[in-house]
Amino acid sequence: MRGPRKLGRGVAVVGAGMSKFGMFGDKDSKYLFAEAFHEMLSTVDKGMDPGDIDALYLGNFTNDFFVHQGHWGPIISDLLGLTPKPATRTEGACAASALAFREGVFAIASGFYDLVLVGGVEDMSKRSTEDVTQGLAMAASPYEVRAGFTFPGVFGAMATAYFARYGASREHLANVTIKSHNNARLNPKAQFNVSIRDIMNQRIEKAKNKEEPPPAWTDEKEFLRDPRANPVVAWPMHLYDCCPISDGASCVLLVTEEIARDFTDNPLYVVGIGQGSGKGLHAKEDLTYFEATRYAAQEAYGLSGLKPEDVQIAEVHDCFSIAEIVHIEDLGFFKPGEGYKAVEEGLTRLDGSKPINTSGGLKCKGHPVGATGTGQLVEIWKQLRGEAGERQVPIKDLRVGAAQSLGGTGGTCTLTILERR
């Protein structure tokens, strides 16, 4: 880097909304984005006129492949009545809308625009699991695909390297899963808003109704160890280590700092943004971290003047349980090799010292890939403004939250830090 990063002028988030995430046979990308947009409008405390939006940046990854329709910028612009304002699609695999957010920030910081809508959408559930697996693998490196790797496989391999280096095991991954489900249980927008305990009780009830012997799991960990309940996908990644296939949309409204209070008395300021790129699995210098996340974090912390310990809550890209552990280390919240211990000690729970993925994360909230980046920011928006309801973290003077996204096998990683003043 030549000198410190800086923004030309300040940027604030003044509205944020998302659709429910899930598998919807009867909802398409346009319907879902309209749902997210409508909620976003309702969150702008002093109201706003959509006609004032200067531009749209939209993240989307797989719609070309899954619904055979590309060029989603103008489709969504037309949907919202924004034409002829410019619409730009960003693609960074599963970090697509995190890139849209970043481009929106740059567009305002440069002085070019004052109001920008950024968001993302994905429609994935209308295809078979095999098709989706193959489609998502388009974001891996070609060598990984030739070697038979799937996405769960890449993260599974990283997990074996992490286990061998630090002595962690599948049991530690289970801690991540249990926590994610506990949080998602309190999130009505989540695809799986049930705890592991709820799922166990449902299964036991079902067996009883069929007059079969009920499963005798003593606790959540035993349920997760049971191969019938939690089959292997790509060892050591099992079903409950993996995010689901999801449909959904999300968006946030960005404005220049000077006009933020025209929209709300409680804006969130964009204090840190960072982005990095990374190599394929074979070329990574180390299999236990993502250099792109570390770079993104360095950039975002540098811009904000904040340190990892200043970030009070974070949404991280837990496409797989091992990823959450690696990310909280890469972001500097915990030392390398200590992330899994922090999760085990409960530090990342809702009531812990560093709540992670209060929304339930990708694992439980759902992962409509293009919608995930701005979807994470919707959760930070709710938490920092004290609007997260039952899952509101009990931290006093909550001011700083962050969201980290990852695309592909770590090829594109971002970190965004928001602050309430």
């Binding site: 697996t133 070609p142 038979g148 769960p152 391999a157 390297a161 050591p236 699995l281």
Partner: protein, 138 residues
């Protein structure tokens, strides 16, 4: 050796000839597998081919139960998982490859650090012939 472009097409062709080939920068000596046409150490563009010895050890692995159509066609499924891995070559570089000769149903028996040797899995005939890099315990 005939001149071949330092790219993935040539890399695949060499695999078809049972050779694991990388590129070496003639200016600074940096090795790369798969090959690169530009050296990212010194940005030189004069490369030469180097054959890897095909020996290495297992650095990471996964046993995949839900694979892509390509692997399903080969007979792999939830009951018959296959193994993919990252192999650290003696030359100090890593490659991703299929791992043969291990039991995907018994991941606890597969150990990181296991010495491996390369083999070349040829599939299909004629224009459809393709080769996959694999390693198995040596």
């Amino acid at each position: 050796m005939e001149a071949r472009a330092f790219n993935d097409i040539s890399y695949e062709r060499f695999l078809g000839e049972d050779k694991l080939m990388g590129s070496r920068c003639q200016k600074c000596g940096a090795l790369s597998v798969p090959p690169r046409s530009i050296c990212i150490e010194c940005y030189g563009s004069e490369m030469e081919w180097v054959e890897m010895k095909g020996k290495g050890k297992l650095a990471a692995f996964t046993c995949i139960a839900i694979g892509p159509p390509l692997m399903i066609e080969e007979g792999y499924d939830r009951k018959h998982p296959y193994v993919s891995g990252v192999v650290e070559l003696e030359e100090g570089l890593r490659v991703v490859a299929r791992i043969e000769g291990v039991d995907g149903n018994k991941p606890e028996t597969i150990k990181i650090g296991t010495p491996l040797k390369a083999e070349f899995l040829h599939r299909g005939e004629g224009e459809n012939r393709t080769t996959f890099l694999a390693f198995r315990p040596s």
